[in-house]
Amino acid sequence: MPGDWASPYSDDATIEDDDVLYRRIKLPDWVRSNELGSGGRPQIRSIAFQDFTDAMASKWGLPAPAMSVGLGSVITANGRDASVMIEHHEGYGVASLRARDVRQFDQGIQRYPTDSEPWHAIVFCLNRKSKNDPMKDRLAERAVWVIPPPQ
């Protein structure tokens, strides 16, 4: 029950509202190829913003579901750009959100660096266990292509 959920996560205030969060987008599955948004690019679907499962969270050593992203400021500090998100991942594009976009919908962000991805971070719900359909819809509305599908 959303109202009963006590999140084990807390938002990392050192991640600024303007910080960019990058998300891999599976192509063509997670886009509406026949509906073009701004810039003539296909609209990103809400399904691209799912939390991973309890099992996957546990495997990663996380206490609850969350969604993986790449933290733009750390990627830049490492001398890389958004393309690092899809290195070794064929058939994906990259979209971006601002930290404020996710915070606006009761989400928090924490750094969760790995050996191979020091920029890795997670986005999680503060008031329910995992993202519901409205949250995913709103994130999809705000997502902006950084590496769009090839035309």
Binding site: K26, I47, D51, F52, T53, M56, Y92, N132, P134, D137
Partner: protein, 104 residues
């Protein structure tokens, strides 16, 4: 989707649960019996569920089938701001009405 390899979405996604696939088939067969549905977008969910999705102008309808065999529906109209959520079987009449408004 049942044959998806583990991590098919690069985020640890599970292949669709075959039982969920059966429920989706029954749902579509039942709903389509009396109505000419447009073909939905059908996707695997990361937890092994399956999602059906229809768009019509500004309306967006999602019906999600979870591995525990629960079914939820969500409608959003980005023009009017109308938002509705329900579950099956409790809200079957309301879900059917939303499907009629969005998926025909």
């Amino acid at each position: 989707m049942v044959k998806h390899p583990p991590d098919w979405d690069s985020y640890g996604g599970l292949p669709a649960n075959p039982d969920v696939g059966s429920v989706v088939n029954m749902f579509l067969t039942g709903v389509a019996r009396n109505t000419a549905l447009r073909e939905p977008m059908v996707d695997g969910l990361t937890d092994g569920g399956i999602q059906l999705e229809w768009y019509r102008a500004h309306r967006h309808l999602v019906v999600s089938f979870r591995p525990d065999l629960s079914i939820t529906a969500y409608l959003y109209d980005s023009e009017t701001g109308e938002e509705w959520a329900g579950s099956l079987p409790d809200d079957i009449a309301a879900v059917t009405a939303r499907i009629a408004q969005t998926a025909l």
